[in-house]
Symmetry: C2
Subunit: 263 residues, 2 copies
Amino acid sequence: MATARPDKPAPGLPTPPGRRPRRAAPPRRPLTQEAVVEAAIGVLDAEGLEAVTMRRVAQELGTGPASLYAHVSGKEELRELMLDRVAAEIRLPEPDPARWQEQLKELAREIRRVYTSHRDIALVSMGLIPTGPHLLDVAEAQLALMRAGGVPKKIAGMAVDTLGMFLDADAIEGTVYYAKAPAGEDPHEFFEAYFGQFREYFAALPKDRYPTITGMVEELTDADDDGRFEFGLDLLVRGIASYVKDADRAEDGDRAEDAGSAG
Amino acid sequence: MATARPDKPAPGLPTPPGRRPRRAAPPRRPLTQEAVVEAAIGVLDAEGLEAVTMRRVAQELGTGPASLYAHVSGKEELRELMLDRVAAEIRLPEPDPARWQEQLKELAREIRRVYTSHRDIALVSMGLIPTGPHLLDVAEAQLALMRAGGVPKKIAGMAVDTLGMFLDADAIEGTVYYAKAPAGEDPHEFFEAYFGQFREYFAALPKDRYPTITGMVEELTDADDDGRFEFGLDLLVRGIASYVKDADRAEDGDRAEDAGSAG
DNA sequence: TCGTAATTACGAACGCTGTTCTATAGCCGA
DNA sequence: TCGGCTATAGAACAGCGTTCGTAATTACGA
């Protein structure tokens, strides 16, 4: 993970004779914003967002926390830069109007894949208006897909927001549990036991106060993450699609079977 | 806000003769978990979730941070207790199967009202499996409404999760902006300027890289919070309702106009 | 009424955090 | 060769969650 820094002077040792005493010798790679963000993402992937402290990132770069402030205005900006760098990994589709709904779903799955592969980075995304170039690329792609499918501007504008909320919330939900798993333990096995505890808890609730919950314990503690994601995604995309015919109906006789009345 | 504790002995003064020198006299209201949670919510409402520190809550109770740990296992438990106490304010409906969709929406609006009235409490809810009694009451009510409307168990189990994610994300999004507003400034006026900045930013983006975004700046920076919420809510509820006829069709001819094909 | 056990309360301290101040080291143009 | 400038980082500040050990107060049995 951390590349070795070969020429760091050993602290406490006197300067050898014949060598210029350049204190705090400049590291091989001089500090740049890019290097700071890269180091921060390294810590994120290895230890989670909570471990991404200015001190920890600085340590990764072989320096002190104060040095970071020359390249980053503070922790918040660093987190946003991390998010945008992560967003650069999201592969974007070429819009094909005939398949816009499936393409929108595919893009959502791709975003989910990238988000969950970087621990709890979605916590940064929640409630943030995208301004970084790569985050804007993703938003542009989503909007382009919907517009190509005939979704009205106003609807698309709201839908990209709702979709983003859903993706953030899903990734957070997923990684919150993941973060609870002790390091070096099989996550799947851990979740089994973790959800099992809740299953017992729900089953033991008083039936007179919680008749519905106690009657569907199995359905509530089913840890089928992918299934829940697909369910929510389908709900949203179908809902968005239902607004299409109001704007331009019968222009593209793609699939006339669905699309209920909107309003 | 903070009720006066009338008989706290003035520090530094000698004990008056004839009065027993009970040092650290027990406050009128002895420390209880309930009192701790109440004080914490007081701080939350006044200064936001970030200000709810163990020290700040202890100060509100006229004691030190160590004293809280006798009634609360730590900060995380305190936050969950706060959330459950807030959830107790949510007014729950009597299920009326004929109106279940509208009732589900009304309940969602009620949850939104309570959440946003307590600053960023929704941050605690995100990614948390509800276990507190009042949170379970809310989940029970949502599930009861859907079941009364004929939503299959499996669908209802996933829908309550999706709906919760949507509500949490919406409340967080709303309060994140609210938290940015400087204290003592008209929030509406602030948002006008705040979103205005983003409008300019989006409008200034390169048109060749972001053709869709730059073509719908107005739609994207429209700060109609309620409209966006209703849009997402309608998407979800209509989607949930679309699964009803698969289970028990033609039992209640409520509104046959909508409900597209499911699956 | 007294003496003792158990409970509650809390001051002090530890190891963290983000950020700022200040001084220094090295590079660049003159 | 000499300034000026920027990048660097050591030290420090205020605040955080939590723990420890001790003091005070209650409750209880005699």
